[in-house]
Amino acid sequence: MKELVWLVPLFPLIGFLIIGLFKNNFSKKLAGTIASGAILASFTVSLGIFIELLSGAEKTFTYTLFDWITSGDFSVAIAFLVDPLSSIMLLIITGVGFLIHLYSIGYMHDDEGYAKFFSYLNLFVFFMLLLVLGNNYLLMFAGWEGVGLASYLLIGFWFKNQSYNDAAKKAFIVNRIGDLGFVLGIILIFITFGSINYADVFGSAMSHPSNEPVIVLITLLLFVGAMGKSAQIPLYTWLPDAMAGPTPVSALIHAATMVTAGVYMIARSNVLYSLSPTTLTIVAIVGAVTAVFAATIGILQNDIKKVLAYSTVSQLGYMFLAMGVGAFTGGIFHLATHAFFKALLFLGAGSVIHAMGGEQDIRKMGGLKKYLPITYMTFLIGTIAISGIPPFSGFFSKDEILAHAFAANPLLWILGIAGSIMTAFYMFRLFYLTFSGTFRGTEHQKHHLHESPSTMTIPLIVLAVLAALAGFIGVPEVLGGSHLLEHFLDPVFEDSKLILFTNHLSHSTEYMLMGTAVGILILVILFARNKYFTNNEIPKSDEDKKSVFANLVYNKYYVDEIYDAIIVKPLDFLSGVFFKFFELKGIDSIVNSTGKLVIGLSDTFRRLQTGHVGFYIFMMVISIVAILFFNLI
């Protein structure tokens, strides 16, 4: 089965090409079927590869298609790497991807760009698979930018609306900032190790000392790329805006898969990062701060998708925190569980929005429980899972991260707990405002409320099951599990374990941490329940006066405005100044005045030609005398 790995990205590519080229001749149904079928086929192959890896002895396998770029000693091939890490990613991408394709068949049913939508989705899956399958950094980068393109196309899917296009453009450009760091990192890897294939790089990196400056620089540059793609401070601002895209896109790209690419990249480069504890510290701090920062914004947002978007930023922060404290398995574990529950939550939100006829403001919802029973149940499961209540999946993955964080530095643990408290609060706030109480929308909307069709609810149910149960692949030792995931991923991370020294917590400490976390979370949830369920509080409308701090948070700390003022505006201003002043008045006029100088001089000198013969003769005599005079001296 491993030899068929090239089929995995090929199916979506073919799907994209067929739908993209012949979309005008297709019925809607056919386009959806082809796209979903392509992903299902990929999923089947991925599953086969996964099972083979589980049972087989050989844990890594490289399949080379052809040489891509060769220049001197730089050489890189289009080659796919199958190992436990990439096979897990394959399963997540194609599995969740397939469910979301299925969901989209129902969700996008009335859209005129239906076929185009599916072709873009297939394109995205293709690039995402390329990203995780590449056996070298450049191929990862190709997928990396490719998913950025797909994200650009899908955020701006309804391109008639210029504000959506602005969001798409912003996503692409902010990602490009990160990508520049990534590219420079790749180049530095090539210069340092003479190759950019994972195997060669990690092999020769093992002989380097810890915290060597060049490796610190490499890892920092790569991390800049990860910050862009995975929406970490300071490059996170594009992700909330990216919610302009259709909701399945938010679920697939901006929650489950693409945004976790940065986490994948660090996990993939775990050897390099383990060799650079300085970078790991920075990663951990950025991750923890992002987790808390984004969570605070989430508390006061009223747009159902915006809440989930900030929650995504925050959860990604956890994953980076995990990477930063050396808990690579924990990060990937959380990546997987997050893919399930966040996709579930987004799709649930999509189902709500679908029912509400496009309304996204939770202040105008309420009481949807009885109209959307399946959505309600699955959304509840997702909410519990993300809040980290045992035995749902979020608990296990988050607990693992927090335990490692505590071992590394208790301060990081405190930040983590603070973030998860806020997460539980805003998620239950969202949940109660949406589903409980009385309906606050218009009569017209109320009339149309309905449960979504089965193509939409089936993915919800499947994801709900996964969100509930996926935690059991990583039950830690203290709870009597054997952490299957860790064992499975061991071949990928074993080198790092040799390099990186990690504190191990005693079982009693772990129990204590778990207990504290769960205890606080239950209190917070009860508080949220009291506030929004029992007392039916509704967030104030935009016109109402808020406290200064609430205003600050509600407006997302004005970060967008600050970026606009310190980067975008000055750049535009600079380009204007350069064009109008430097270019036209400066360089161009220097060039033109060189020409004018010649003309001016010739105008002066031609006046010597007076036409008076006497003057000529006089000048001649003077000149002869002068020549004789200077020659004789």
Binding site: S71, G72, E145, D179, F190, S575, G576
Partner: protein, 486 residues
């Protein structure tokens, strides 16, 4: 033999076209360009990819008293550029065929003569022949811009002509100096010039006349001020020739003459040259951000790309050079594509102002998709042609200086800014009064766009057939340089 055929066929065809009357000149010009392309394909299959030196070489005495031989031939680097020229010219002629120009026979004849000059530059193996063709290539484009240009054509073409001529004269002085450095009987033969091994002091000063000549042609900051006006004002086929092929002459000259003859000079002044190039990259990118005229925007973006190529060349390492070579091809293709997109816009709407357009994607989805692909290849998206060169260039510059690579790399961000902004403004959103009747691509346009897009993806995904052509020549060039530097 095949080199002579490639070189002289456009000359003969061009001269013949002057005497053709009426509309049939379009078809004749196209078939001439296609035959030329076919000859270059034949050459491609006969080309030995293992040889670094010039192949299909030919040499006959020309000016015996001065020891000048008319010697031509193609090594890998030349051949790639010849291929670019022969590939683009049929497309340029096809795109010109959609318009009506006054005096069509002269225009098409000049385009073929232009091809003659360009191929001459790319195949010359003698510095004197190189110089002659360098000037020959200037003449047709001057007349194209002067006779079919826009409102300010006289002023602008005059400036362009004087500017580039000044550069070439500097080059000529340097060449004559080199000529007298060769052992008697003196010669302009390139291989002899490569083995001159001038002293550090000689190389230090000989760097400048060459550098300025090439910097003007590319152009590199601060010698770029002719570019935007000329690109904007020239008729579309002229702009395509200028940005698609002619801007490569400067880079090619640097690779062919400056690097092997004065490697110590380049080493000495390299930082200055690369800094200038990188400043130019950022500066022109910023200028592009401000433009409202689509053609002018693309003109500046073209300058930014060529600036990066220049920086890669002066970094004088393998990745920088092969990146430069492949990027010249890729940029030629994407620059042509972008100008073609603008040509379509202008033909249908009569405006090139970005903010007067809008919503084209609603009315012309195929056109919008094609434009997006070309635009993405221009901002170096992986798996399109633009990426490989840009990555290798950055890798080359990084080996010279990480800081400069970081600054040069900013162009990938700024490029995304101005390209996506313009795309959003012209193609997305709701349609305006100007664009509501816009019709989608017609057959003739698809005939150009489809091969173009195929080539963009082909080079992006499988560049090996092209890169392996240049690889031995680049390797040899590096060894020539290393020999003198050590």
């Amino acid at each position: 033999m095949i080199t002579s055929a490639l070189l002289f066929f456009p000359l003969l065809a061009g001269i013949a076209l002057f005497f053709v009357k009426g509309e049939q000149v379009k078809k004749l010009a196209l078939s001439a360009a296609l035959i030329e392309f076919f000859i270059s394909l034949v050459a491609y299959f006969q080309f030995d990819k293992a040889i670094a030196n010039a192949q299909f070489a030919m040499s006959t005495p020309w000016v015996k008293s001065l020891g000048i031989n008319f010697s031509i031939g193609m090594d890998g680097i030349s051949f790639l550029l010849v291929l670019l020229t022969t590939f683009l010219l049929p497309l340029i002629i096809l795109s010109a065929n959609r318009n009506t120009y006054k005096n069509p026979s002269s225009l098409y004849a000049l385009m073929l003569l232009m091809q003659f000059g360009l191929i001459g530059v790319f195949t010359a193996q003698d510095a004197f022949v190189f110089y002659i063709f360098w000037e020959i290539a200037l003449l047709p484009i001057y007349f194209i811009a002067l006779l079919w240009g826009g409102a300010e054509k006289v002023r602008i073409t005059f400036k362009f002509f004087i500017y580039t001529l000044a550069g070439s004269l500097l080059m000529l002085t340097a060449l004559i100096y080199l000529y007298f450095q060769t052992p008697a009987p003196h010669t302009f033969d390139l291989q002899t010039l490569y083995t001159l091994h001038l002293s550090q002091g000689q190389q230090n000063w000989i760097f400048w006349p060459f550098f300025i000549a090439f910097a003007i042609k590319m152009p590199v900051f601060p010698f770029h001020s002719w570019l935007a006006d000329t690109y904007t004002d020239a008729p579309m086929p002229g702009t395509m020739l200028l940005s698609g092929i002619m801007s490569k002459m400067g880079v090619y000259g640097a690779i062919r003459l400056l690097l092997p003859i004065a490697p110590l000079g380049v080493q000495n002044w390299g930082t200055t040259a690369i800094v200038l190039a990188v400043i130019g990259v950022l500066y022109t990118s910023l200028l592009a951000m401000y433009q409202k005229d689509y053609k002018r925007l693309v003109a500046y973006s073209s300058a930014a790309h060529v600036g990066l190529i220049a920086a890669g060349v002066f970094a004088m390492n393998h990745q920088g050079l092969s990146g430069a070579v492949i990027q010249m091809v890729a940029h030629g293709i994407s620059a042509f594509g972008l100008f073609f997109v603008i040509d379509i816009l202008f033909l249908r709407t009569g405006t090139r102002q970005i903010n007067e357009l809008g919503g084209l994607r609603l009315v012309a989805p195929n056109f919008a998709t094609a434009a997006l692909i070309i635009l993405l290849s221009s901002i170096a998206l992986p798996l399109t042609s633009g990426f490989i060169g840009e990555f290798l260039l950055l890798a080359g510059i990084y080996q010279y200086s990480g800081m400069l690579a970081a600054f040069g790399g900013l162009t990938t961000i700024l490029g995304a800014v101005y390209m996506l902004r313009s795309y959003q403004s012209a193609f997305l959103g709701d349609h305006t009064t100007v664009s509501s009747n816009f019709s989608d691509l017609v057959k003739e346009e698809k005939l150009i766009i489809v091969p173009l897009i195929l080539v963009i993806f082909f080079i992006g995904i499988y560049p090996k057939p092209l890169m392996e052509i240049a690889e031995p020549s680049v390797k040899q060039l590096i060894s020539i340089i290393e020999l003198s530097v050590k």
